[in-house]
């Protein structure tokens, strides 16, 4: 047992910190810290900075332009980025589609699409969920029918995160409606500028519009945009979901969130003293901090196993559940800390005027962030689905 980082890992951490110090503009970090939504330009700016350094694709092999870090390095990088309030790397092209193309795509697809992900030429979004296919993803109905050199796609996707910025979408579509539901699905790459595609924003509980509905009406997709084999899409979809679950514990986000809570509670006054001195509130903060310390070790235990070539298996479900519980508890503490000052509310979607709000604790919209982060236990396989996955793993063989 050795809880300390190796000398190489420490040097790596120092390198990441120096990079962030030098390249992350204070105004951008401030927006991230205050949970404000970023423009496409701001995302692109940060991606370019990382790409120039060769760090945009931490999990890609070097031959595709990735950093090819091991799991511990990736973890260090993600933590440091979160603690510095760097914009998160938009995952759709980089951590979802990229690995799928690398494993299942043709050489032509790899050569064409992967560099465009790194350069930012393409912004990808994810066409998985449908109104009738959420937790039960394999129930998806969007149809693709072969017509000569094209597929013709009809249907609807939903919860398409940042689809408003995307020019490409990777989609699960049904190509064989007669097969068992997992066996008639294919994985298609679709140009969002094709005729017949309509994107409609969904306003969320926090007033933001980060997700969309995407409608397909007779959309023609060239057959070369099929990834792998027809009707084998479910295999690729599941592979993608395991990659979606990297950094699932979000330890860095929790650490950064906890620092925000302490900052707010250090500024907020209760009976003439900082709230952080109030024993009741201090106990709440300490409780979460203790949970987070333990979870950080759990996370390292699991990711370092993966670093030695063992894939994180069903345990990643435990990381997702505990990780989101802690992150959500922290967003609750932030709004609690702000007290009455959590109530003033600005929302891009609902309030056309966007008057600057009072923000005495320099906290941003803590209530909006609390409500927005309810999504953590819903998306990417809800926490109930994660429990189901782990329960099946534990009860294997029982009948």
């Amino acid at each position: 047992m050795d809880l300390s980082l190796s000398a190489d890992d420490k040097a790596f951490r120092a390198e990441v910190r120096a990079f962030l110090d030098e390249n992350l503009p204070a105004e951008l970090a401030d927006k991230v810290r205050r949970s404000q939504s970023l423009s496409k330009q701001e995302h692109d700016f940060w991606h370019t900075k990382l790409n120039d350094r060769g760090w945009l694709a931490p999990n890609w092999p070097k031959k595709f332009g990735g950093a090819e870090w091991d799991a511990v390095q990736r973890n260090i990088f993600e933590d440091e980025c979160a603690l510095a309030y760097a914009p998160r790397i938009v995952p759709f092209g980089l951590s979802m589609l990229g690995p799928v193309l690398q494993k299942f795509g043709s050489e032509a697809q790899q050569n064409y699409w992967l560099p465009r992900i790194l350069s930012g030429e393409d912004w990808w979004c994810q066409g998985y969920s449908e109104p009738g296919a959420g937790s039960d993803l394999a129930a998806l109905k969007t149809r693709a029918v072969r017509d000569g050199d094209h597929y013709v796609v009809n249907g609807q996707k939903t919860w398409t995160t940042l689809g408003q910025h995307a020019n490409m979408i990777f989609c699960l579509v049904r190509t064989d409606p007669t097969a068992k539901k997992q066996e008639g699905i294919s994985f298609l790459l679709i140009n969002m500028n094709s005729p017949g595609i309509e994107v409609r924003p969904i306003t969320l509980i926090d007033g933001g519009a980060e997700v969309n509905e995407v409608w397909f009406t007779d959309v023609r997709v060239p057959v070369e945009n099929l990834v792998g084999e027809e009707n084998k899409g479910w295999t690729y979809a599941k592979f993608l979901l395991t990659h979606e679950r990297t950094n699932i514990a979000g330890v860095g986000f929790s650490r950064a969130g906890l620092a925000m809570v302490k900052r707010i509670a250090g500024r907020a006054q209760a009976r003439g003293r900082p709230l952080l001195d109030n024993p009741h509130f201090a106990a709440r903060v300490a409780q979460v901090e203790i949970d987070l310390m333990a979870m950080a070790v759990t996370n390292l235990r699991i990711v370092s196993k993966a670093a030695k070539g063992q894939a994180p298996g069903a345990e990643s479900s435990l990381l997702k559940i505990k990780g989101t519980q802690i992150r959500q508890e922290i967003t609750d503490l932030a709004r609690r800390a702000a007290g009455p000052q959590a109530m003033p509310f600005a929302s891009e979607g609902l309030d056309g005027t966007n008057t600057p709000l009072p923000d005495p604790y320099d906290a941003g919209g803590v209530a909006a962030s609390y409500f927005n982060n309810r999504k953590l236990s819903i998306f990417g396989g809800s926490n109930e689905i994660q429990r189901e996955i782990y329960a099946k793993h534990l009860m294997k063989g029982a009948s």
């Binding site: 969920s129 009738g132 959420g134 937790s135 039960d136 129930a139 939903t158 919860w159 969904i202 306003t203 969320l204 509980i205 007033g207 907020a268 006054q269 209760a270 009976r271 003439g272 709230l275 109030n278 009741h280 509130f281 709440r284 959500q328 609750d332 709004r335 609690r336 007290g339 009455p340 000052q341 959590a342 109530m343 003033p344 509310f345 600005a346 929302s347 979607g349 609902l350 309030d351 008057t355 709000l357 009072p358 005495p360 209530a367 909006a368 609390y370 409500f371 309810r374 999504k375 236990s377 819903i378 998306f379 809800s382 926490n383 109930e384 429990r387 189901e388």
Partner: protein, 346 residues
Amino acid sequence: MNFELTEERQMLQDTLRRFLSGATGDVWHDLAELGVIGALFGEDAGGFGGTGFDLAVVFEELGRADLVLPLIDAALIPGRLMVAAGADVAPLIAGTERFAFAHSELGARYDLNWVETRAKDNRLTGEKTTVFAAEDADTLLVSARLSGAVDDQQGIGVWQVAKDAPGLTMRSYELAQGGRGAEVSLNDTPGTPLMTQAYDAIADAMAAATLSQCAETLGAMDVAVEMTRDYLGTRRQFGRPIGTFQALSHRLVDLMMELEQVRSAVILGAGHLENPPAERDRILSATKNIMGRVGRLVAEDTIQLHGGIGMTHEYALSRYAKRIAMADHRFGDTDHHLEQFIALSR
């Protein structure tokens, strides 16, 4: 013991439920005409209610509506202060004049006795924060300190201040729970004195407001849990209604059970509103503490049990969930009331 509503209250509840189910826009005058504002005040003041149980009935119905009405802030609180001062509340009950109470200050957090705003020769100077219903008020009631330290109960007065009075500036904004609030800044602003020793009246008005907020939140929780029950019964995944999955149905049972706790806590609070202050406040702290704890659970779990659809603004549940969770930020949060309960139990 009798847990039935009186006939009058039952009628009020029915009338209000019918009216609110179709109401949109500015319904203030309609509410006044229906006698809803009058139900918040006793006969001495020209109303026909005003007890804890009257408030509980009215506000639970308001909470059930998918509509945010500032009845606590524009009517109940200022009205109770004015009644305590012997002022005429007829225009308030008639809905012809609107008020708001500017009391909250940044340093006060949830404490009622913390007033930094100063009054000298009936001119007020200070900063008030998160003042609900200020924008639509004709007249603000403003608390300020005549004497003593910032946290003395003694030495706090209340003035009537015209909204266009010199030196008064207001910056208003949307509130997370719906409705609008404002920052109110006073700089040597003239006011007409209403009371010079106002702490007890403020505490009484805030006790009534706390009870009303809890009842309103109970109504909203009732709707949110009912919507969730419907959803679990109709949403199908894996070939069956998701409510047939035990992991979900048991959570619904827990919500129902906690909701009954809140219902009882509101009855407890309503039954003690007219008791002496220390007793009243101890019970209301219990009510508000339960409301805060269960409110968080209900807001979070009703969204979770719905999944993504519960996160959308278009679906009413999200609006109820926001009102339920944000109610903890008014009139003292869960922790504040736990501390007050401990202090008053000694």
